[in-house]
């Protein structure tokens, strides 16, 4: 479903964000990308929805080389990928339902279809009762759930979440991750970039650890500190290349 093939990413300021990264995330998988801030987690996600293009290597999403995609096809790629951010990215002057519906409006979904899909998406995130509330009338956790409803309303096969719990308290964070898990059960591939140790350990899913732009560990049903028992020291800086 998502394949990174020897991917490098160097930003114009010279920062090497990713350094020869190769891994595959299978269809329907739930995967955590972990690592300290600035280690390349967000950069890896940005490559999937073509916010960035790799300096070298290939990023294959559903069999398509994303970097080689003509610019006019990028919106079509993004309609097949839901993205959730730490800062929610909601439009403050639109209600929860309008924010969710906006994702359908911009791709020209008929009104009747929109009115069918928006309540469904809000129901999925358990916020149907707050459909008419504006973002500043909602808690952080609720805003993140609206953002997830928006990401899911198009039924994308892939959901990317970049630090989705970064602004939330532990309870709200756990609810969000539970929701991501529920979405994954329906067959959606979910990739979550996080440095929330507690969440990762409690979920016990696949964990890909990044450090200085390289994959240093990749384990199934792992914890945040995967590999710690293998060798002493900071797991974030350990050079342990692991094949997927």
């Amino acid at each position: 479903m998502i394949e990174f093939d020897d991917v490098c990413l160097r930003y114009p300021n010279g920062t090497q964000a990713l350094d020869h990264v190769s891994t595959t995330i299978e269809k329907g998988e739930f995967c955590f990308l972990v690592g300290a801030s600035g280690m390349g987690k967000s950069s890896l996600l940005k490559l999937v929805y073509r916010e960035e293009t790799p300096s070298a290597g290939r990023v294959i999403v559903n069999g398509t080389d994303v970097a080689a995609l003509p610019k006019r096809h990028v919106p079509l790629l993004r309609r097949r990928i839901g993205v959730v951010f730490q800062d929610f990215r909601l439009l403050s002057k639109k209600t929860a339902a309008e924010n969710v519906g906006y994702a359908l409006d911009v791709i020209g979904v008929p009104r009747r279809e929109k009115h069918r899909r928006v309540p469904k998406a809000l129901e999925l995130v358990d916020l149907l009762h707050k459909a008419d509330a504006y973002p500043d009338e909602l808690s952080g956790g609720e805003q993140q759930r609206v953002s997830m409803a928006r990401a899911l309303v198009n039924n994308p096969p892939i959901l990317l979440a970049d630090e989705p719990t970064g602004n939330l308290d532990p309870d709200a964070s756990w609810n969000i991750v539970q929701l991501l898990s529920k979405i994954n059960i329906t067959g959606t591939t979910v990739v979550v970039a996080t440095h929330d140790r507690d969440i990762v350990n409690r979920m016990a899913r696949r964990v890909v650890t990044l450090s200085e732009g390289r994959i240093v560990a990749d384990r199934q049903r792992a914890s945040y500190d995967v590999g710690e028992a293998d060798s002493p020291g900071d797991p974030m800086t350990r050079r342990e290349e692991v094949s997927p």
């Binding site: 073509r50 960035e52 919106p75 309609r79 990215r89 994702a103 409006d105 791709i107």
Partner: protein, 300 residues
Amino acid sequence: MNLRTVEFQIVETSANIRRNGLMTAAAVTNAAACLFVLGAFALALWNLHSMTEQLSHESRIRIFLLKDVPFEEAQALESEIDTRFGNMIEERTLIPREQVLEEFILKFPSIPDAGLGEENNPFPHELQVKLKDPEEWRTVTEFARADGRVDEVRSGRESGLEPLLKLRRMTRIGGIILVTFLGFATLLTISNTIRLTIYARRREIGIMQLVGATSRFIRFPFLLEGVFHGTLGALLGGAALLGGYTSLVSWVAETIPAFERWLIYSADQLGILFGGLIAIGLLFGLIGSWMSVSRHLQSP
């Protein structure tokens, strides 16, 4: 783009204009001020050009014959000029020396007649020629100067026509350059203000891109807004300009009536100016918003 999308875009655009009231007011006011200045310059140059145009057209070539040339010979010269340059001439008048003297005495009654009369007339017959295109003055002048019956020809430099023609050329070329330059400055100013309104909504653009909106879809409401800003600005700026100008013309008519005839005042001419400003406002709003939103749509 289907009908549903167009409807959504129009509803969104009108909502954005309402929601971002302050930015809308700033963009419209700026467009109005810029187009007012542009229109004022264009109007001033148009007036100056029209004035020089009228003056140069009113200028005549004055051909003074030798004093001993009889009136019949003057008539012969007139018909020669007519035959040769008839298609260039708008109007010609042969004034007999008796009439020139009469007019002189009427004009300067305080000067003692000093024996001026038919027997003692210092003036020659005079032929006045008005050309369709004043720029052709040299051709007629040179022909008249070469004629043995002619004493003196006053035109071009001597009659002040040449500097007037120069001024007319300058207002034509300089006017085009100045209005183009000002137009460009106006476009940049309008574009920058629209860029501010777009910058304030870059988050919205980011979200639109994120959920898969095409560049055309994102651009469209901003173009509509740009057209709205530009057109409304032009309407306001144009109305203020014409209001001010008509008051100025009324004031000139009362204060310096002789000057009124030089001013552009017909409804047709002012209509062209107003229509032109609206077209420029609309076009600049469109181009300005296109330029600004395109910058925000740059992505890999």
